[in-house]
Amino acid sequence: MFRENMEADVTFDSDDAGRFDPDTDDAYSSTEEMAVVESPPKIISRGVDVFYGDTQALFGVDIDIRPNEVTALIGPSGCGKSTFLRCLNRMNDIIDGCSVRGSITLDGRDIYAKSVDTVHLRARVGMVFQKPNPFPKSVYDNVAYGPKIHGLATDKDDLDAIVHSSLERAGLLDEVKDRLHEPGTGLSGGQQQRLCIARAIAVEPEVILMDEPCSALDPIATSKIEDLIDEMRNNYTIVIVTHNMQQAARVSQRTAFFHLGKMIEYGHTDTIFTNPNEVRTRDYITGRFG
């Protein structure tokens, strides 16, 4: 097989030629080009600066996040990727002295506009955190909390249905259906994280932000979450921050590389991991960062 390939033809086969199309090498040009064909970006960030007091944490970040795609944010610790993620549902508002400049739009509307209510925004943009953080309540109550506070369920049966379908979509229902009323904190780490995902999707968000969702999990649990993320892509737009570059390569369609508060490179994950444009990206993903 191998040998035949060698002998067969000199040129690369058409598949390869397509992948290394010169146009796709440039992330920006490809994005611009594809925008014509694809649906418009879900989230557009332009010139986003973030300050913690006097310290600037992010410098002019421009990203288009596409619907029904997984966008991975990678970079060394303290590069601002989590900060950027938290800008997308205004979680930074909680932090004293944090200010955001520039524009971030969700479906074309500025999420930092005065008229935007953070409660409403966070119902549309859900979040899953680094450490599994179920509420110290039962599995059922964990999932039911979001629908309850937003008034999504009309009655008890409706709420039951939401809880069940959310757990189902998070791939957790079979494991917990006999202990819905036992504490969520009694589950294993991976199950807890999937419970948190179920809790997030119970509110039926459009975008799900994940801040290193697997960093506290073992490889098997990680694989389950990755599988889940891949499946969830059909229904949600997902932005994931990860320290694990292999994970970014596995689950995402697009990858943005952050370094020292700047976004260095953004493009198709395939390109970033085979032929990054920027030396810094290459040095980081190949493990050469000095």
Binding site: I94, V119, L121, N133, P136, G146, V203
Partner: protein, 435 residues
């Protein structure tokens, strides 16, 4: 690499060096452990000493010596006109009846001085007991009944062995004759110690054998109710606001510093404040539990606020993030998630504050709760005293019998504390969520 090799020290027997030092290290460890055990042993010894002294002095208060007398409840002395009216009955000469019964029992006592001594054997409470019996059942009038009546405090002390019999007659408060009468009663089986109900049901009295703790217990309970009703909600609210909602600026910093300082202010200052503000300015009643409660609440607030803030900060931020991430509003995040998790810690803080308030005397002295109050307080505005003040009052009294009352009051105070702490532990366990 070359650098590394030049820097590497000469090979040496690390194992031997470690072994040589081991004995020294373990000795240090043993020494430290011995110090710890010694410290605990000393502490335990002192606590044991304290308890044994208090209990040793005070346990006898739970019984009271009574004597049996045959009393002629003559209608002449109680109700000469036969109206059976309660006010008339209450005014009857029961003391005379008791004296008569005593004289009848010891018919050979003729001298006036001896008679007075004989009368002194019975407590003033004996006549109150008789009156209560008659008031409860007026049919007793005209009958001759055999009743157990309390003896005087000196007689009681003698029977309980607190007054030595062998010292000279002049150096004790009870004469040989009285001892002889009591012995005679004892020989006839007409003298015995019975459970001292009065101590747990009555208020203070000038007569030690009549003095009870109940007034102080009720006073303390009422005062603490006011304290907790005021201090806990406002303390928790302050803690939650400062910790969860308030912006961090110069004003909140100032408030924080002040709260921390208030926690260290001597308690008598709060008493002066209460005197100036509540009594003199607002004209509230003196010695009332409501004022005591106000003063103690102000004193306890800083403790509760500080403990509450600590409890709130110890709630993992991930809980807040989780709630905010789902779109909970700040108030929902705090009241649905943060506060329930902080509650056990806040309760602990509140209980510590309450325990301190329960043991507090100084500020209450300033607002007049040191007054001698016989009646059991029935409302928050009735004059009353509290347990520690009662301890202080009794400790100040000269009679030997008050010494055991003091110890007993301390025991009741401790029991009160234990019950409160028990309640705190129960509440904490109940609210505690396994994290």
């Amino acid at each position: 690499m070359t650098e590394l090799s030049t820097n590497t020290p000469k090979p040496r027997d690390v194992s031997a060096i470690v072994t040589a030092g081991l004995a020294k290290r373990y000795a240090a460890e043993r020494r430290f452990r011995a110090f710890g055990i010694a410290a605990i042993a000393i502490a335990v010894a002192f606590v044991a000493l304290l308890f044994s002294s208090i209990i040793g002095n005070g346990y006898t208060v739970f019984v009271q010596t009574h004597m049996r007398l045959d009393v002629e409840l003559s209608a002449d002395a109680i109700d000469p006109k036969g109206t059976r009216d309660a006010t008339v009955l209450a005014r009857g000469d029961y003391a005379g009846l008791v004296k008569g019964a005593l004289r009848e029992r010891f018919a050979d006592v003729k001298k006036r001085r001896d008679k007075r001594k004989l009368h002194g054997l019975a407590s003033q409470g004996a006549s109150y007991d008789l009156r209560n019996m008659v008031l409860a059942d007026p049919n007793l009038i005209g009958q001759r009944i055999s009743v157990w009546l309390p003896v005087s405090d000196d007689a009681d002390m003698l029977i309980k062995g607190h007054i030595p019999r062998h010292t000279g007659e002049g150096s004790r408060r009870i004469s040989d004759k009285e001892i002889a009468w009591l012995d005679a009663l004892a020989e006839a089986g007409d003298l015995e110690t019975q459970f001292n109900v009065r101590f747990f049901t009555s208020g203070d009295s000038r007569e030690p054998e009549l003095a009870g703790i109940w007034g102080a217990v009720v006073g303390s309970a009422l005062t603490l109710l006011v304290t907790i009703a005021l201090a806990f909600p406002s303390g928790v609210a302050t803690a939650v606001y400062l910790e969860e909602f308030a912006p961090r600026n110069r004003w909140t910093d100032l408030i924080e510093v002040n709260i921390n300082n208030l926690a260290a202010v001597p308690s008598i200052v709060f008493g002066l404040l209460g005197l100036a503000v509540f009594l003199n300015f607002f004209g509230m009643p003196r010695s009332a539990p409501v004022v005591g409660g106000f003063v103690l609440a102000i004193m306890t607030l800083p403790t509760i606020i500080i403990a509450g803030r600590v409890a709130l900060t110890s709630v993992p931020p991930s809980v807040r993030e989780a709630a905010y991430g789902l779109g909970a509003s700040p108030v929902q995040a705090v009241f649905h998630h943060v506060l329930p998790l902080a509650m056990p810690g806040m309760l602990t803080g509140a209980i510590i504050g309450m325990a301190r308030a329960l043991g507090e005397t100084a500020p209450l002295l300033m607002i007049g709760m040191v007054a001698f109050i016989v009646d059991i307080p029935g409302s928050f505005t009735d004059p009353s005293t509290v347990l520690p003040v009662q301890v202080y009052l009794w400790a100040d009294s000269p009679e030997r019998a008050f010494m055991e009352k003091t110890s007993a009051a301390i025991m009741v105070l401790l029991a009160f504390l234990i019950v409160m702490n028990g309640a705190a532990v129960y509440l904490r366990k109940k609210f505690e969520v396994r994290w």
